[in-house]
Symmetry: C2
Subunit: 822 residues, 2 copies
């Protein structure tokens, strides 16, 4: 590809000075604990005792930092950068220090010799700066440790930020991961009218830790076809070890110019087609009178999807570092991945080579006597908030606004007593979200993400307010697809999660709704986000973000035709292992509690909220007011469901958490009331499972005295729990009552079967719970033996009935609390 | 693309009869509980009361089943098929029943009206057949529930199976997932000389549950570029609702013929270049004398990687089903995803439409009066073991051979007392694996998979026996890359896991070595594999498979420069939630125990073994003989490390599991011996953590009496555990001693820091353990108060030392058991 040569020699020299400064600062972070400006000859005592860190990708990232700076100034861009490559922190830290943002955020990082030395010393030191981009790194929204999510983060950042350009640097190591491979398709969800742009830079430096990378070793035409197939129009810039740096600067500057121009043209065209945001931008001639809300954006036909530009930048790994060490090639091989020169304190030749390497950047030209960068080194740096380390989007809490959350009353289920009616909880939530979508129609700072399951999860009411965003072909037979929709569906949990992370990290709000079992697909991403939030709490200048919200539905207990593979409640366990400051798990038992929990979750900051709720019809246990009180407490006694006298202690506690366990528990309570009327039964429902933990271990933990008041200290507690039963044991093992606690839950006894057969298989059914009560409550009358046998008999009857009829026993299928409670 | 018309009219009619039979059988599985052959008019009582199942992808999968059959016969192929699309089971079950394999495997599936009806009745019924391919489905190695892994499974199946062709049907829904998007690159790891072939069939039926699919809606040239970019040479076959079926049969048959011919040519060429398997196939002119073992396969230069063929098959979703229902389009829309006609028992028009639909396949021509398929319907079916439901590879246990596992003695660390020397456990294991690679040089039924970390994980000794397999360009500067290597590295845990699954599911052995924290990336895949194995146990004809083995190393405690993002020991928790029949977790404390554990794991069948072991130098605690005994018991008292009298009970138990916890525990024991010599301390080490569980909950669980004999019933137990401490509580909460158990472990207090600072931050350091002992042991002398203060003082000293020096306290860094034990 021919690129116009746009750079003057003077500007080239300025860019090169900035880049050399970044390279110098990057290399010094690995090595120096003194003599930061090399004002004296380098000696062993200037070198850190432990050499830790990564050089390999730093020069390439520095080059991108430099040229993105130039593009921001030249094109007056509002731009941020997502730094994908692992261990890229030295270059990004160098950039933030050099442009002054680091010093403005952290007092110890002043733009002088002292701040420079502090940076060098803290890098890869105990408790110091990690070698991948992390919350400590100004301008970053990306943990560079795990690899795979940069591109999805970048698109999440770009959604609903029409003025923003997000540069996404994708390393060729990261590019081998599945999540990254899928995320290239994100362009088919980017609305050029309302969203910003993503400019991916595929940075091929050729090597991972110890191997070449795939994409660097396939023929260039094959790579080009791949990227065109993903929907991009690639611009290739290649630097080899012997390519003059000026040549690379010219080629890369021109490529950025071409890319920015193409992006602007695509946006101009798309925005001209869309006269204003929102429904009024709908195609003239649509027929609103037939279905005014359902599909206001429909625009069947081929997409006007731009072929977005993409840069393929090939630079040698460890470029400008030592070409050879001890006779072995290092630059442009995997050997430059970490510290190219080792044993520098002990080996005078290595020390000499290090000094030669560092001086090759001519630090004297880059920094004055006090260590302040020279004008030449700073010429390409943008002003103020346009600096990459100062872009507010990369510290999204600065832009965060409270959501205009709807009143719950109009959406709440009207109840008349407990368990008299049934509703689908997620459908009720969907109505509330619909209003939220309407309320954010112009702000566009709330989105719903999911893997092709919004309708399946009964959240399709939201399509009344906004369709699914879709930039590919739309057919006349399609429903609820539109160019500007804020529900995004793709059959990749990784993309959904990555987009949502990018969206909230840049100061917006959202929800990821998924089949419960498949949340595990993003377990690792969720864990990394928790770590990001936990680490951010220790970074003073990071502002609180909207929480990351999961709605897990289509849960383990109701997989009537999907069976065993769709049954896994263990995401809760995974989350509950993580930092208690960050993690929250809610198990609302009905529609109104789900509304309250969702309302709460959308107001929280800097947490990861996991809400598990069913989509199938579920008894309405609580009025909205009761639900509010119950959710505020997080757990509580449902006095109306038990049989104890006020003020006394019960004989037994039936506890439950989750919608199906709650139903079985209430049915068991009804059976006990009928068959063992003298037994004082207390029913406890738990919404916020962290309440079970000691206060010392989780901020939501209930103080012991309050816990004991609810659960007693020594009465039998039969606990029906939504997930793996041992989680309840692990949360409560320090409680007085723990020795009397008996938990039922999902224990991997799954199949394609009926709802009630699922609870029977896992010993969590109402009859089993009654048997548990009888087995564990001392001093029951002889009558109890007969009751126990009757329960056993129903279970036996169930087994033959379900085999014969394929349905549940009529007495179970038709059961309701209202019928039993007279 | 032009394709030759190779089919005669007679053969076309035969193929169409087979396909119609599959469609008929698929549709009937959703609806019928009687009148299987439609010998009488369809009535409401013939219809199942609950209509569950999925029709959408069945006709397309049936078409592929038919044509793969034809290709097997025509080209004398040894072929199997991996069925990727979700909910594809009806078509595959139909195929297996029709060809007779199902009836041979399961008595109730005879190839007559009775067997047919049994299939219809059991489908999607409680405890019956799921609607995605599962272990119940003959010929399948693929759980069709989660989506994303078919292509990786197919490549795993093809590795080292040079005669096998694996057809991989990839649904366009599945194709949106990350793991699938990455797995297209698997061709760059497929050795055409020693591996079989994978023929992907990208099946675009246009829709997921409720949405169009991405790949079906991008322009065809864009899709074609994408697939070429992935390294394939696509053949496109497109059927629209009005395309005559004969035309599609001709086009698809021709496409299969072209694909098979191209595969054979590529294999012939590659195999001609490689005169025989193994090192002797090395490039003439290599210089073995310089380094005979290290790189015997090196063949620098561009790859002779074939452009493998790939079929893009477009068929309408729900093809041949009802075009419209109640005036709404169903065929060729997402509405055909599940049951196209609902309420059939109640709605006479739907019943009529169902009958018309089913009769459109002309069942009278396909089945005789007894329900046996006619010759016409069976004409394309291969013989015997070539039938897709009978291929032995798809029931891999039939092909499994015992591994020639090396003797451990030559690889074991020679010890002279306890803790006198140090070794890197994974490096020691690597030597054993090297011999295993040598011993399987010709059999080629063992492989090591990992994400670019074999060297980083100190397993690079294996390269002495076999290089990393690589079919892309090789440079002169590369090391340990070769065309025929059996170590496969790609920076995608999903691909590593998927390949290994496919490899073991087809009857071979392997190991996946990964950074511990990043095992979570494949948590969901691991869970699905456990479910597959658990379900397989209930399928009589499934033969035991080699276990799926994980080596998790570079673990949480030693992430000196990677820090917080690389610290997550929770994969153990995830695995321990799953079916106890299947899951095993081992925490060998040193090199010799790791050898024993690995040897054991490689001998087991049908389990998932998670082995967590460090790569850093670690004290050699046990001789090989001691390690053997210790591993056989799974846990045990280390008498040499404690101070109790024989036969008595100790005052306190120090327990540990994992290499770092063991070191801290032994250091604590040494401190106690020195400072509180009167205290009777018992040291217990746990290798197999399921031993902690009750026997009733895990087959490895230790009976209570034995457990109590080791841990006591009431003495304080201070347990230093590798992972999240609460796991130990959850495993032991039923044990007598549980109330006295105090567990230390990783509690998310991570950073970039020194090894000892990590244990201090998480309160698992030796000094803290001694303090725990003092705090929890009643009746200690006043001297203990002083000792406690001394411990506290060292911890304080540590904090300032590490901040100042960036290294650990000398007394910790230089500590050894041998020095303390005189």
């Amino acid at each position: 590809m021919e690129l116009p040569a746009t750079l003057s020699d003077a500007e080239t020299a300025q860019l090169d000075a900035h880049w050399r400064a970044l390279n110098y600062l990057s290399a010094c972070q690995l090595y120096l604990r003194d003599n930061p400006l090399l004002r004296e000859p380098l000696r062993a005592e200037h070198i850190k005792p432990r050499l830790l860190g990564h050089w390999g990708s730093a020069p390439g990232l520095g080059l991108i930092y430099t040229h993105l700076n130039r593009a921001v100034r030249r094109h007056d861009l509002e731009a941020m950068c997502v730094w994908g490559p692992g261990h890229g922190a030295p270059a990004v830290l160098a950039g933030a220090w050099l442009e002054g943002t680091y010093g403005e955020l952290e007092p110890g990082r002043s733009r002088d010799a002292e701040g420079m030395l502090g940076l060098f010393r803290d890098f890869s030191q105990p408790g110091g700066l990690p070698s991948h981009t992390a919350p400590d790194v100004p301008g970053s929204i990306q943990e560079g440790g795990e690899l795979g999510y940069s591109l999805a983060h970048a698109y999440g950042a770009a959604f609903d930020n029409p003025r923003l350009l997000v540069c996404a640097v994708v390393g060729d190591g990261e590019a081998e991961t599945g999540p990254l491979a899928a995320a290239w398709h994100s362009g088919k969800f980017l609305d050029p009218a309302h969203d910003g742009a993503v400019l991916p830079v595929l940075h091929l430096n050729g090597y991972k830790i110890a191997n070449p990378t795939l994409l660097a070793r396939v023929p260039e035409d094959e790579l080009d076809a791949l990227l065109r197939g993903y929907g991009y129009d690639p611009l290739h810039v290649t630097a080899r070890p012997d390519t003059p740096h000026e040549e690379t600067h010219r080629a890369l500057a021109a490529a950025f110019d071409v890319a920015v121009e193409r992006i602007r043209r695509a946006q101009r065209e798309a925005r001209a087609r869309t006269t204003e945001p929102g429904p009024s931008g709908a195609r003239p001639g649509a027929a609103p009178e037939t279905d005014p809300e359902a599909d206001p954006y429909a625009e069947p036909g081929p997409a006007h999807r731009p072929r977005w530009p993409l840069l393929v930048l090939r630079t040698p790994k460890g470029w400008t570092g030592p070409a050879q060490v001890d006779g072995v090639p290092v630059e442009n091989t995997w050997r430059s991945h970490q510290v190219p020169l080792s044993g520098v304190r002990e080996d005078p030749e290595h020390l000499r080579q290090l000094e030669e390497w560092l001086r090759s950047y001519r630090p004297d030209e880059l920094f004055d006597a006090e260590g302040r960068p020279t004008g030449q080194a700073l010429a390409c740096v943008p002003e103020g908030g346009r600096r990459l380390g100062a872009v507010p989007h990369a510290n999204g809490g600065r832009l965060l606004r409270e959501l205009p959350l709807p009143e719950l009353e109009p959406h709440a289920v009207k109840t008349d007593g407990h368990g008299q009616t049934m509703h689908e909880p997620t459908r009720v939530l969907g109505e509330m979200l619909t209003e939220l979508f309407r309320a954010t129609r112009r702000r566009r700072d709330f989105r719903l993400f999911g893997p092709d399951e919004t309708a399946s999860n009964h959240l399709d009411g939201t399509f009344d307010a906004t369709p699914r965003g879709w930039q590919a072909h739309i057919l006349d037979t399609d429903e609820h697809l539109g160019r500007h929709g804020r529900v995004l569906e793709v059959l990749s949990e990784h993309m959904c999660q990555g987009w949502l992370e990018g969206y909230v990290l840049t100061g917006r709000h959202g929800l990821f709704a998924s089949y419960e079992a498949f949340a595990h697909i993003v377990a690792s991403m969720a864990g990394q986000h928790v770590k990001w939030l936990q680490s951010s709490r220790e970074v003073a200048w990071r502002r609180p973000l909207a929480s990351l919200n999961y709605l897990l539905t289509s849960h383990a207990w109701r997989q009537d035709h999907n069976g065993f593979s769709h049954q896994d409640p263990g995401f809760i366990d995974h989350i509950m292992n993580k930092s208690p400051q960050v993690v929250r798990v809610y198990l609302p038992p009905d529609a109104n509690t789900l509304l309250c929990v969702a309302d709460h979750a959308l107001r929280t900051r800097d947490t990861v909220n996991v809400v598990v709720a069913g989509k199938q019809p579920c008894f309405d246990w609580l009025s909205l007011d009761e639900a509010r009180g119950h959710c505020a407490r997080g757990l509580g006694v449902w006095e109306w469901a038990g049989t104890e006298e006020r003020g006394g202690e019960p004989d037994v506690v039936l506890a439950c958490a989750g919608d199906v366990p709650t139903q079985e528990t209430l049915a068991a309570a009804a059976l006990l009331r009928e068959h063992l009327p003298g037994l004082a039964v207390r029913v406890v429902n738990v919404v916020d499972i962290a309440r079970l933990m000691p206060r010392s271990e989780h901020p939501h933990g209930l103080p012991d005295a309050e816990f004991d008041a609810v659960f007693t200290r020594d009465k039998p507690v039969i606990f029906a729990y939504h997930g793996y039963p041992w989680l309840v044991h692990r949360l409560t093992y320090r409680r007085a009552v723990h020795g009397s606690l008996h938990v039922r839950g999902y224990k991997e006894m799954g199949s394609t079967t009926t709802p009630f057969d699922m609870v029977v298989r896992n010993d969590m059914d109402r009859y089993r719970l009654v048997m548990d009560v009888i087995d564990r409550t001392p001093g029951l009358s002889v009558r109890a033996t007969g009751v126990r046998q009757a329960m056993e008999d129903v279970r036996t009857r169930h087994h033959s009935w379900v085999r014969e009829h394929g349905t549940d026993l009529p007495e179970v299928a038709e059961w309701s609390w209202s019928a039993t409670s007279r």
